[in-house]
Structures are given as C-alpha cells and as structure tokens.
C-alpha cells in the first residue's frame, strides 16, 4: 500500500481537549428544554392538586351548575356552553371565510402590488393584540350592529372571536396551499384540468392536513381568549339563563370558560381558588380535545392520500 506510508496531515485520533464549545451548546439546549418542561409541569401539577379535589367532592354537579355567588353552588355549565358555542361560531364563520380567502389569494389572485399589500396587511392583522379585536367587537358587533346581534350577546362574542382568528386562519391555510408542489399543479394542467379542477382535486386535498392543523390551532387560540370577550360583552359573575331556548340564548347574556376563570380568580372567598383550578382543567380538556380532533382528521387525510 502506497497510502500507508503517506503521513496524514492530522491525526484521526481524538485529541485530549474536548470540543468545549460544542458541549456547552449541547448543554444549553438541554437546559432550555428542561426549563420549559419544568414550568409546564409545575403549572399542571398545581392546577391538578387544587382542581381535582373539586371534582372528587362535587362530581358532575360542578359541570352542570351555573355560576353563583356561593362557591359551593358554583359550576361551569354556562362557561362550557359559551365556549362550545364560540367554537361553533369560529368553525362556521372564520374557517370557511379564511380558507376561501387563502385559496383566492394563492390560486386566483394576480400577483400584483394590491395582492402583496393585502397579504402584508393580513400578516399585520394576525399580530394585532387580541384586546384590540375586543374593541372592534364592542364598537361594531355590540354597538353598531346591536339591533341585529342583541348587543352584548353570544353572537357578538362569536363574531368578535371569528374576526380575531380570521387572519391566522388565512395565513396558515395560505401557507399550506403554497406548500403544495408546483409540479403537481403542472401535472394537472398538463392533462387539461381547469384551474377549478386543479384546485379542487389536487391542491386542496394535498393542503388539507396543513389547513386542518392551522385552523384547529387557531380554534384553540380563540377558545383561550379572555380580553376581547370581556369587551364584547361576556358576563363576569352570575347571570340567569332561565328557561330560554337556544335561539334566545344566542341573542342574550353569555360567558365563556376563560372569563369564568378570570372572574373566579378575583373573588374574595378562598374556595374559589380551587374552583378556578377546576375550571382550568375543564378548559384544558376542551382545547386538548379540539387538538386531538385535528390530529385525527389530519392523519385520516394523509392516509387516504
């Protein structure tokens, strides 16, 4: 072997000194991860320790009772109902509007200055603090459209949240659509498909998992919002729904779980601390459920493709 006699410029053996910078970086990454997990762990254990006894003590009673001034008789029924109604509102109003806007912007709109301006503004809207959307909801859906929405009503709240997540839905959907490879569109056009056929048969089914993930994440965000709904009329404290039907409830007082949590956390009685924790558990379960639905739907779509 001729190569054997040729000296290597540098030894292949490990040198004594370790790669300190690399190790340090590695360590920093690990510490960051542990730190994040610790915060999460602390929060969850704290909530569970305080909240679980409430469920043990009261069971389903806590879930079916309305808010009351007495901790022992307070429940989250109204909050759960309000939060689920908000989820329906957002799904029915913001999702179709947002997804269709995204399809238009990505597949149909000409690439000109106006389109780019609109795109930039939608991005900016997604970064606007939610309390600003609350003011928007208050001035438009509660006051200006009061005769139609019933003022501080569930409809006003649902529309406010829909407006809040609309830019996020548009951005995530547009990104999912943009991620569909151009070659796939060309393949479709190449066999004589029209734009509508390419969009419906190729682009949307391929973008569906991404769109679903984005929309449901925005739904979770909407369900966790407190500030905009405080402005848009969610009720702090107890109110009576009486024997109103669903239709009447849409146009009247409502509350949602985050507002209930906010309300209870400020009450004087110490018992409300534990109720707050219990309500947080309920809210977490609902948002986790929404996420689980998204994952299941996404997996189903990915498999069929």
């Amino acid at each position: 072997m001729t190569t054997a006699s040729r000296a290597l410029p540098r030894s292949l053996h490990r040198t004594g000194g370790a790669d300190w910078r690399g190790l340090l970086f590695h360590g920093l990454l690990l510490v960051s991860l542990v730190f994040s997990l610790l915060i999460l762990f602390t929060l969850i254990t704290d909530v569970l320790m305080r909240g679980l006894p409430v469920f043990q003590e009261r069971g389903a009673d806590f879930l079916t009772r309305p808010t009351s001034s007495s901790p022992a008789r307070s429940g989250v029924a109204q909050g759960i109902f309000g939060t689920l109604m908000m989820a329906i509102f957002v799904s029915v109003v913001a999702f179709p509007l947002g997804i269709m806007t995204a399809i238009y912007l990505e597949e149909y709109a000409p690439d000109n200055r106006l389109t780019r301006l609109i795109n930039v503004n939608i991005r900016n809207l997604a970064g606007v603090p939610s309390v600003v959307y609350g003011l928007l909801g208050l001035s438009i859906f509660v006051l200006a459209l009061g005769p139609l929405t019933g003022g501080k009503s569930m409809i006003a709240g649902g529309l406010t949240l829909s407006a809040l997540v609309l830019p996020i839905v548009i951005i995530t959907s547009a990104e999912a659509i943009r991620a569909v490879p151009h070659s796939l569109r060309e393949a479709g056009y190449g066999v004589g498909a029209s734009r509508w056929e390419v969009t419906r048969l190729l682009v949307l089914p391929n973008a569906a998992p991404g769109i679903l993930t984005g929309t449901v994440l925005s739904l979770s965000r909407a369900l966790g919002e407190t500030a905009p709904l405080l402005l848009a009329g969610a009720v702090l404290g107890g109110f009576s729904t009486g024997s109103r039907g669903l239709r009447e409830q849409l146009f009247s007082d409502y509350t949602v779980l985050p507002v209930t949590i906010f309300d209870w956390s400020r009450r004087a009685q110490a018992e409300f601390r534990d109720l707050t924790a219990a309500a947080i558990i309920v809210l977490l379960v609902i948002t986790l459920f929404a996420n689980a639905v998204a994952i299941i739907l996404r997996n189903r779509y990915e498999r069929s493709w």
């Binding site: 490879p181 070659s183 796939l184 060309e186 066999v191 498909a193 391929n206």
Partner: protein, 306 residues
C-alpha cells in the same frame, strides 16, 4: 431512407420551416371546443411523413417574454406529424420555454407574454377564442421530474379521462394507456397502490400513460429521462419510438446521444447576444449529426461547446 421531404432549408435568422405542402385552410374557430376525433395514425411509424401531410403543429415567428426579458425570439418551424422532433441546445437557449409555448403552459407563469402564432389544424392556439385548457387536452405534456399525483396508479391514469367527462369503460382506458406506456405488465397487479411507490423510471412511464389517457395528438416531453438511470432512459426512448405511430412527439433533451438515437428531426437552438434563444438549424436528425450546415451546430453536437 426514401426521403419524400424536400430538402430542409435552414436559415440562421431562426426560421427553419420545412417547405411543406400548402396548408389546409383554417378550420373553424370552434374546433377546439368540439369533441375531438382520435388522431388518425399514419400507417406504420416511419419518420418519413407524407409531404402532403399537414404539420402537427406549426410555429410562426414565436417570441416569449418573461417580463421584459425575451427568452426566445422569432422562432419559426413546423413539426411533422407522427415523428419525434427533438429540441437541443445549451442551457438558457429557451428549449423548455419554447416547448411550453406549444400547449400554452407558459400562461400559468405570471408575467409571461407571447408573440407570434402556433398553428394547430390551421387554428392559432393563441387566438382570443381558444381555451388553453382545451389546448392542453389535445397537446399533452410529460415533465422533467416524474410527477405522478399522490393517488393510486389507476387514479393517476384515470384522472384525465374523468375530468374530461369520459363516458365509457374507464378500466379499458387505464389498461390500454398503461400498455402503450409499456408499464402494464409491471403494475397490473397493484393498480390500487400509490403511484409514488413506483421507481423513477416507472413513475415517468406512469406520467406518459397519464398523458396518453386523454388521447392527445401531440405529446411534449421536457427532458423526460434526465432524472432517470440509463436503463430507464432506454426504456423511455423505446417507448417514444413506439408512441410515434400514434402521436407526434416533441422532446427537449440535453443528451445529444438521445436526440441522435431517438428523434427524426432535430432543432438546434442557441442563445443570442441578447440572451434570447433562437434556432440555428433545424433538419433531419441524421443531417444535424452527420452533415450540419452550420459550424455552430457542428461544434455543439461534437461537444465543443454547450
């Protein structure tokens, strides 16, 4: 070869038109919206086309712009039917741009502009009343990178007939298309499997089957074998010479051996001073490779530049 074609002319100004027989008068403008009749294959697959035969497609003074940049300029040539015409030339000479101009694929790229005429059965494909979607049904395309749909093999082939409102036995169309694409024997037992599970060469043949399934008259191929291994490349070339019995094929290739082996006519393009592509020479493939008229062509086909 008994050449019935008149001696090809070649003009450095970019016009490589063969002096073919008088063109049939323009058919009615509604032709592209009517049910198409199957392309009547000429007997056999011989490259020697009937001199009276109408060219499959006829480009007249074509220029394509991307924004203010002119990618190809003043291209004039006709494509003989039931033969393989290859476009060769160095990178940037506008071969793909020209190819995509034939079935209006460039329309999909924002900012492109077209000048000139592409005559197909006497009708200008760029005329106001022509539907580009219909154009692409008649003039199919196979792309550089195999791009099957993320669907089953069956659905890949059936996609075109389905969207075109095919009424008939879809199974038969799928089978005959796959057979013509020389893929049937390999996939007949796994038609339900994803098209993406096939090998690269099989995927490209699937894309050819998909293009055939809508019964186009012309198939455009943009470097169809450049992403494939030599064996798959050879299969594609054999397939092409089989397909030209029924279809007219225009192929862009970087591989000069491929052009020499597989095509009947060759168009050599180059990039001008203004970076716009133009035609240097267009002739029978044998002439281009053995007896080129231009020094530039000779230099290119012998590998001295490009």
């Amino acid at each position: 070869m008994p050449s019935t074609l008149t001696e090809p002319t070649d003009r450095v100004d970019g016009s490589g038109n063969l002096p073919t027989a008088p063109r049939t008068p323009a058919t009615a403008g509604v032709a592209l919206r009517m049910e198409r009749t199957a392309a009547q294959p000429l007997a056999g697959g011989d490259a020697d086309t009937d001199p009276a035969a109408e060219p499959a497609v006829d480009l007249r003074d074509v220029s394509v712009y991307y924004g203010s940049f002119r990618a190809v300029k003043n291209i004039t040539f006709d494509v003989p039917p039931n033969a393989i015409t290859s476009l060769i030339g160095p990178s940037g000479s506008g071969k793909s741009t020209l190819l995509r101009a034939v079935n209006r694929m460039n329309d999909l790229i924002p900012g492109t502009r077209f000048e000139g005429e592409v005559l197909y059965h006497g009708e200008n494909l760029y005329a106001e009343q022509v539907d580009p979607v219909e154009v692409r049904r008649r003039i199919g395309m196979v792309f550089q990178k195999p791009n099957p749909f993320p669907k089953s093999i069956y659905d890949n082939v059936a996609f075109g007939p389905r969207i075109n409102g095919f009424r008939g036995k879809l199974d038969e169309v799928v089978e005959s298309s796959l057979r013509r694409a020389a893929l049937w024997d390999e996939v007949k037992d796994k038609l339900k499997q994803s098209g993406l599970a096939l090998s690269g060469g099989q995927q490209q043949r699937l894309c050819i089957a998909r293009a055939i399934a809508v019964q186009p008259e012309i198939i455009l191929m943009d470097e169809p074998a450049s992403a494939l291994d030599p064996r798959s490349t050879l299969q594609i070339e054999e397939l092409m010479s089989e397909l030209k019995k029924n279809y007219t094929i225009i192929i862009v290739t970087h591989n000069m051996q491929q052009a020499a082996r597989a095509s009947d006519y060759t168009v050599f393009m180059n990039m001008g001073e203004d970076r716009a592509g133009y035609i240097v020479e267009r002739s029978r493939t044998t002439d281009i490779f053995t007896n080129p008229k231009h020094q530039m062509t000779e230099d290119y086909v012998s590998g001295r530049f490009g």
